[in-house]
Assembly symmetry: C2
């Protein structure tokens, strides 16, 4: 079973965290056939944490988890903090394959999507 | 003449600002026929500022500027700060039509783009 865990920074503003949760629902609605389970987690300021999110995926039966960083740049959060949070669970979830995907801002499709939105 | 001004938050990390500048170049390379001029500006921590970016567009001959917020959520930056920065130049650039586009995180295409990247 394959899980997608969308990881956002987290905000003090509840509506910003709710935007991430809504996006997660939208992803789940379209992920059929690719992911059996789609969830979100937050690096800080909101729940669940990344370790808790990974555990939720495992509890749901995942043997593979793709962690998708919902971040715009390859800053410390993407390069160090998210891998560090994943590492906290690696031993405990040693039977689960966990892979961190490319972050949002690095995706090839972003230029076309942005231009489509404003032309 | 129509300009696209990509507005990012700005970072203390130079490489994150450079990612925005690279994205701007990629947008410029694909914007032919839609925008005559593509630039970026930063809300804080990097140059040019939004007022300076708008002025650069006007100096390049723009009579229409689309300001694209490269932000993930409808937080204070998108709802208050960017419009506030635009307002600082509205009187001075009264002959230029300036429009703030929907922010990145709100775009319909984002779900499909993300799923394409991980499936």
């Amino acid at each position: 079973m394959k899980s997608l865990l969308l990881v956002a920074h987290g905000s003090r503003k509840a509506s910003s965290n709710d935007e991430v949760r809504q996006l997660t629902e939208n992803l789940a609605g379209k992920a059929t056939g690719h992911f059996d389970d789609v969830r979100c987690a937050f690096l800080e300021l909101a729940e669940p944490s990344i370790p808790d999110g990974l555990q939720q995926c495992a509890d749901a039966g995942a043997d593979e988890i793709v962690v998708f960083p919902y971040f715009l740049s390859a800053g410390r959060h993407v390069v160090e903090d998210i891998p560090g949070e994943i590492d906290k669970k690696k031993d405990e979830l040693s039977s689960v394959r966990i892979r961190q995907a490319d972050y949002l801002g690095s995706l090839d499709g972003i230029v076309d999507m942005m231009l489509n939105a404003v032309t």
